[in-house]
């Protein structure tokens, strides 16, 4: 008795890709049925199909995965919409590129990020470029630089492109303005190969950009920031590593005109002065998420109180941010995510005030010397459904504070707790949370779903013993 084809298809569909390939050897009928089942493969990560026997990086020349790629794309190529190489510096050769371009006729997303290309992709891009919606060449390097320098000539054919990642691109980008006007996302952080004039022209030709990543700032002149300031649809801007002082030639005041901006990330920007910061806080009325890290010339953070929609705030590496600023932020009662790193003038009092006044669900306080257990006690008694708490390297945090989290009203909502780099933390803290979590889970057993995410506690460089992992494993993942 034989199983009929309909049932076989169902059987095969729950087998893995490689298992299906192997079973092609059973007989000709099976081979035909098996090959019809690859239609449900829509996304392919080539790295998932490579055997790493040497435990080394994959880029070694000895590893040829041409047969693997041909085997994969000859089966599911026509159905695949998205293909990538797992960003692990695989060396991608010409036959691999050619086979992808030959078989993957409906590809809309191509991720060549973090690979070493030993290939000229121009011809492939002529074929598949016009259909690409999403394209990544993040940090991509070429064995033959000349091949890399040819890529930008294909930009003009990519009519459907919406997202492109050119972070740290090291090839010629003179034709960047050729990218289609419908482009919404670009990451061009740290890219070389373009002049200020080219970049300015690109920005002017792309008014539909909603997301712009320029950290490190690739290049620019006096007008670049003015153009960015006038972008009508920009929702997210990540800008950073601008070390020039002359305010006249590099004026960040222009950014305060982007009224559509919701997320702003500024890092290591010397031109960001206190007055400039004040203007941004007062005029960017739609801002819900703000990150300001290592901006030494911001001497006063009190303008943050002006950001009345602010839900997420991340401040780092400044001695100017202090408790008074937290008081003015807390007055808006909107903040749900708060992250600070090395802000030594933020103390327990400021945090407690924030916790008592805002709907905090994520609290990250790293390397802040003046924060003590009382902050965690305040959080634990706040009745807030907190999902993330991190207190890395805060010297006054001890078992007492960490164990207090066991009293959280919504303990099962807490998914991440980072206690790394705190010498005073040991098993006692974890066990207290474990015991309370066990009770909470038992209480909620009727409403809990099977795929509920486990709590993870990070205990790198703490006194937590390795044996504890086995004790709490059923409810908590310990990461050492």
């Amino acid at each position: 008795d034989k199983v009929d084809s309909d049932s076989l298809i169902l059987v095969f569909r729950s087998l893995s890709f490689k298992e299906r390939v192997r079973l092609e050897l059973v007989c000709k009928r099976w081979c035909a049925i098996l090959r019809s089942t690859f239609a449900n493969v829509k996304a392919l990560n080539v790295a998932d199909f490579l055997v790493n026997s040497s435990q080394n990086y994959y880029q070694q020349d000895s590893l040829s995965f041409v047969p693997t790629v041909i085997g994969l794309v000859s089966r599911c190529g026509p159905y695949v919409r998205s293909i990538g190489f797992g960003s692990r510096w695989l060396k991608v050769s010409q036959p691999i590129v050619d086979n992808i371009s030959h078989y993957c006729t409906r590809l809309s997303s191509l991720d060549l990020g973090c690979v070493i290309l030993n290939a000229d992709i121009s011809e492939a891009l002529t074929a598949i470029g016009p259909n690409l919606v999403d394209f990544s060449l993040e940090e991509t390097s070429w064995i033959d630089q000349e091949a890399g320098d040819k890529v930008h000539r294909q930009f003009i054919n990519m009519k459907k492109l919406v997202r492109i990642n050119l972070r740290r691109a090291m090839f010629d980008l003179t034709r960047l303005p050729d990218l289609p006007a419908n482009l919404e996302y670009i990451n061009i952080s740290g890219a070389r190969g373009l002049s200020a004039a080219t970049f300015n022209q690109f920005l002017m030709f792309h008014p539909n950009l909603t997301e712009l990543h320029v950290s490190p700032f690739p290049c620019g002149d006096a007008t670049t920031l003015d153009i960015i300031g006038n972008m009508p649809k920009l929702r997210l801007l990540e800008i950073g590593y601008i070390q020039r002082f002359e305010e006249d030639s590099f004026d960040l005041h222009a950014l305060s005109a982007i009224s559509s901006l919701q997320t702003l990330h500024i890092q290591n920007c010397l031109p960001l002065t206190t007055s400039c910061f004040r203007l941004m806080c007062a005029t960017l009325l739609n801002l819900t998420s703000l990150t300001v890290i290592s901006c030494q010339r911001v001497l006063n953070y009190s303008p943050l109180g002006e950001c009345q929609q602010l839900e997420r705030l991340n401040v780092g590496q400044t001695i100017q941010f202090c408790d008074d600023d937290l008081t003015s932020i807390a007055a808006n009662r909107t903040l749900s995510s708060f992250t600070i790193t090395k802000c030594i003038n933020v103390t327990t009092d400021g945090l407690v005030h924030l916790i008592r006044n805002c709907p905090i669900n994520e609290l990250v306080v790293n390397n802040c010397e003046d924060v003590s257990d009382a902050a965690l006690v305040a959080l634990a008694t706040s009745r807030l459904p907190v999902h993330t708490v991190a207190m890395q390297g805060c010297m006054y945090i001890s078992n007492k504070g960490a164990a207090a989290l066991a009293n959280l009203e919504w303990l099962t909502a807490l998914k991440e707790l980072d206690l790394s780099h705190n010498r005073a933390i040991d098993d006692q803290a974890v066990l207290a949370i474990y015991a309370a979590l066990r009770d909470a889970v038992a209480r909620e057993s009727s409403t809990r779903t099977a795929d509920e995410q486990k709590m993870t506690i990070y205990v790198h460089r703490t006194g937590v013993s390795p044996q504890l992992e086995g004790v709490v494993r059923d409810l908590i993942t310990l990461s050492y």
């Binding site: 199983v3 729950s14 047969p67 085997g71």
Partner: protein
């Protein structure tokens, strides 16, 4: 009550509550088409199902007659114009319930009965039964050698030695995974 008849000579008939029998889409559609006839008095012949298999089917539908109906997700036709990824038809993971685990004829001597059951479930369009049966077979053959799978599923190798060698070489990349 509805009467179902096996394909044996003479046919063996089973009397099943209508609610249970309607778990089979094939029979449900037939009953709807014959609305107005007195189906209580008319045995339904099932030309593709023998008595031992029909007995299993009846046992299963009676056990599951009160199950909530499975959520039917409309199947999106895969046409070239559609570029959205919304039609991501990844099969959801099938879990075999405890009762069904005991119910499925899983001894190796009974494997042909299992295959007949799958074919009958397919013919009668009893999707949940077909799903768990196929899941069982998939788990069973996963990780086994090609020879073992061939033997288990009563398949014959119809490749010539040359064809087989060529295919083996072509798929060598999948072996070590």
């Amino acid at each position: 009550m509805i009467q179902l008849c096996s394909n044996d000579d003479p046919p063996v008939s089973f009397t099943v509550p209508r609610k249970a029998v309607e778990l089979s889409k094939t029979i449900k559609t037939m009953l709807e088409d014959l609305e107005g006839f007195d189906m209580e008095q008319t045995p339904i012949p099932l030309p593709n199902v023998d008595a031992p298999t029909l007995e299993l089917i009846v046992k299963w539908v009676e056990q599951h007659q009160d199950d909530p109906p499975p959520v039917e997700k409309p199947r999106v036709e895969d046409d070239d114009s559609d570029d959205s990824d919304a039609d991501d038809d990844q099969e959801p993971e099938v879990v075999i319930p405890e009762w069904d685990k005991k119910f499925l004829p899983t001894d190796d001597e009974q494997k042909n009965q299992l295959f007949k059951l799958l074919n009958a479930a397919n013919y009668l369009e009893i999707k949940p039964l077909l799903d768990i049966g196929c899941k069982y077979v998939a788990d069973k053959i996963s990780g086994q050698t090609v020879e073992w799978v061939r033997d288990y599923l009563n398949m014959e190798n119809d490749y010539t030695p040359e064809e087989e060698a060529k295919l083996k070489e072509e798929i060598a990349w999948a072996e070590g995974l």
